[in-house]
């Protein structure tokens, strides 16, 4: 568990540092935090619907994918990106190299792999698929057969 990110800030796509707060902190201090440019970390068990009405005030959202078998983050990514049209970044943190295809297609815009994958060439582990069979938040680069 030592390589799990315990983030207090994260770099956005412009390489600027953005402060991160936990979902609990966000919920408890919505009024105050909405005025600041912060990001929120959402874990699998967090009730993402609570954040729906406040998306405009969030710069980015970090979805925690540490638990390999817990797939709730994929639905969170879908809801944020596709249904609620969240315009900020959706960053998959504590990500696993074997699950990148699912994260990205669900709507995650960038990711930070767990430290245990450092040094691995991501291209070697890219899924290598040329086709997909279903509509998804992000099907770029895939021939769509459905």
């Amino acid at each position: 568990m030592s390589d799990i990110l315990q983030l207090e800030s994260i770099l956005n796509k412009d390489y600027e540092s953005v402060d991160l707060v936990s979902f609990q902190q966000w919920i408890e201090n919505i009024d105050e935090l909405s005025k600041l440019s912060v990001g929120v970390i959402i874990g699998p068990s967090d009730d993402i619907s609570l954040i729906k009405g406040h998306l405009e005030s969030l710069e980015l959202i970090a979805l925690d994918f540490n638990n390999f078998d817990d797939g709730r983050g994929y639905s969170h990514a879908y809801l944020l990106s596709k249904r609620w049209q969240f315009s900020g970044e959706i960053i998959g943190i504590n990500a696993h190299i074997d699950q990148l295809q699912f994260m990205i297609r669900s709507g995650v815009t960038s990711y930070i792999l767990l430290d245990s994958y450092i040094g691995l060439n991501e291209e070697d582990y890219a899924d290598g698929f040329s086709i997909c069979y279903q509509e998804a938040a992000n099907n770029s680069g895939l021939q769509q057969k459905y």
Binding site: D69, G71, R72, S75, Y78, D98, F102, D127, F129, K145
Partner: protein, 545 residues
């Protein structure tokens, strides 16, 4: 017969390539056991008691002769010369060496076969009536819908890491050969009052330790809306399903805890957001193409003055294993693989090749697998049934016991399975030895006995006339008996008879149950009808007297 095109075949190869990389990392110590377990299960690979087991998908139970030959080759090259047809229409190989798995999967992919999502916490193989398209009164052949839904949930980015496994069955016939209401999700093709085609949706069924019948969450969903409705169902499950308790992972527990009404409301609320999304509509053009691909390869024939052959064994076999076809001049033939002492559903590579050849000669090169672990030849000319029977007889595949009580469904049990608490196959053998009088077997008729070696209920014991569940008591094997389960006309979970019975006494108990049935049967009543009429008490009194 429908076949994958070049794009689909390429997808299978890409999936094998991906898994091979993961396997190499695991063997090199770069991918830990827990993660590899999750990844290998999604490719159908289990670690069993003695070796790795691979489950290969037979989507909706439809198989071609070349595909069956390919499975036979795998049995010879990578297993010990046999495979095991399962109650969910798939096939399993029990003696696979881990380093060989990629080559094996590549060989299968040449014939459009794969093991994708045959295990793991994702959408599994979609099952269908093995008689799809063949019988009168059917609403529609379910297989084109199975194929479109199978594709849609194939490596679905949002729903590949669900709380638990997710089994779907689709039925388009009057009788329910699929047992759809014991599935996580069952779809029944229906027409509404305007004659429009759609689906009734049932969610939250399952067997196992807590057997439940699926609740109807929608009485009519239009065909083109089904994908978005299924996505909403899975989304609610993915987000709210239990992940904190290993024995409560399946959707049935969520439906039970929320209540079917509240679960349906949540699904509907989610669905209202997506039902008008044109990109989530089922592709009706593709559906029409698939209907053509799945259309029957035969036309009615007039056999004129054809006369049936007279042979005692043939007529017994025919009575139990040959059914009317909706196309004039044709029959549907059921072939059992059950042999005394062998696991029901086991087939040797030689048997597979024989069946593949016979299917080419007599059944347009198509075969179907069934949840009774038998093989169906869907297109046999009536005037060739006798010739087929002779060939089957020659190869030991036409025992007159087929279609009788001796046709037992059983899981591999403790002889092979790591999870099993008790043996299954030896019990099946003992029952077959006890009921070896052909006259009595014919008198009893088609009475199902299903034997599961543990609560996972792989042999579907809850829905058999007589179900046995293996368990351990003080280090000894015992069997809990359930009676009068069924799914064909209605879905009923079998009733527990009473205290479990020791392995030593279980065959006597079964015989007693059968004798009570025969004693009380009026006319040609089925077992379940007798049970409904007389109740459980006479059975209980006889077994525990």
């Amino acid at each position: 017969m429908y076949q994958y095109n070049a794009e689909d075949s390429n997808f299978l190869v890409e999936r094998v390539d991906q898994f091979e990389k993961q396997l190499k990392r695991h063997l090199a110590g770069e991918l830990d056991d827990a993660k590899f377990r999750s990844l290998r299960l999604r490719n159908g690979l289990y670690m069993e008691l003695h070796a790795h087991m691979l489950r290969v998908a037979i989507p909706y139970g439809t198989l071609s002769s070349p595909q069956l030959r390919s499975l036979a080759n795998v049995a010879d090259k990578y297993d010990r010369g046999f495979g095991h047809f399962t109650t969910r229409q798939n096939i399993q190989f029990n003696w696979i060496e881990l380093p060989e798995i990629a080559n094996l999967l590549r060989e299968l992919s040449d014939e459009g076969l794969h093991a994708i999502q045959t295990s793991g916490k994702a959408t599994r193989n979609i099952t269908a009536d093995p008689l799809s398209g063949l019988t009168e009164g059917e609403i529609e052949d379910a297989r084109p819908y199975c194929e479109l839904i199978r594709r849609w949930f194939n490596l679905h980015p949002e729903f590949s890491w669900l709380p638990g496994k997710f089994k779907i069955a689709i039925n388009g016939a009057k009788l329910d050969e699929t047992a759809l209401r014991i599935h996580d999700l069952g779809l029944r093709l229906v027409r509404n009052s305007q004659g429009q085609l759609g689906f009734s949706v049932f969610v939250g069924g399952g067997l196992g330790a807590a057997a439940m019948i699926a609740a109807e969450t929608a009485s009519f969903i239009e065909v083109e809306d089904i994908l978005s409705y299924l996505e909403s169902t899975m989304r609610i499950y993915n987000l709210k399903g239990r992940r904190d308790h290993q024995k409560k992972l399946r959707i049935k527990f969520l439906v039970r805890e929320l209540g079917a009404e509240e679960f349906s409301r949540l699904v509907d609320e989610d669905w209202q957001q997506t039902k008008n999304d044109s990109k989530l509509k089922l592709n009706l053009v593709e559906l029409e193409q698939l209907k053509k691909d799945f259309s029957l390869p035969i036309k009615p024939i007039d056999l004129g003055s054809f006369e049936e052959k007279v042979d005692f064994n043939y007529s017994i076999w025919k009575k139990n294993n040959v059914r009317c076809h909706k196309i004039g001049g044709f029959s549907i033939v059921n072939i059992s693989l059950t042999k005394l002492g062998a696991a029901p559903g086991d087939a040797t590579s030689e048997q597979m090749r024989i069946l593949a050849n016979l299917a080419e000669k007599y059944s347009e090169g198509e075969l179907r697998t069934t949840k009774r672990q038998t093989i169906v030849f869907p297109y046999v000319r009536k005037d060739q049934v006798f010739n087929l029977w002779q060939s089957l007889e020659k190869y030991g595949l036409a025992s007159p016991h087929q279609g009788t009580l001796a046709q037992i469904v059983a899981c591999p049990g403790r002889d092979y399975c790591d999870l099993a608490k008790a043996v299954s196959i030896p019990i099946a053998t003992r029952v077959q030895e006890r009921f070896n009088d052909m006259k009595k077997l014919l008198d009893i008729g088609d009475l199902n006995i299903n034997i599961s070696g543990c609560e996972n209920s792989c042999a579907h014991h809850h829905i058999a006339d007589i179900g046995l569940l293996g368990m351990q008591k003080n280090g000894e094997e015992y069997y809990q008996i359930t009676l009068a389960g069924e799914t064909l006309h209605e879905t009923v979970i079998g009733k527990k008879l009473g205290p479990s019975v020791s392995g030593e006494n279980i065959v006597d108990a079964i015989e007693n149950v059968v004798n009570v049935y025969l004693e009380h049967r009026q006319n040609q009543e089925r077992f379940t009808d007798v049970f409904k009429r007389i109740g459980i008490t006479p059975f209980k009194e006889k077994v525990y007297e």
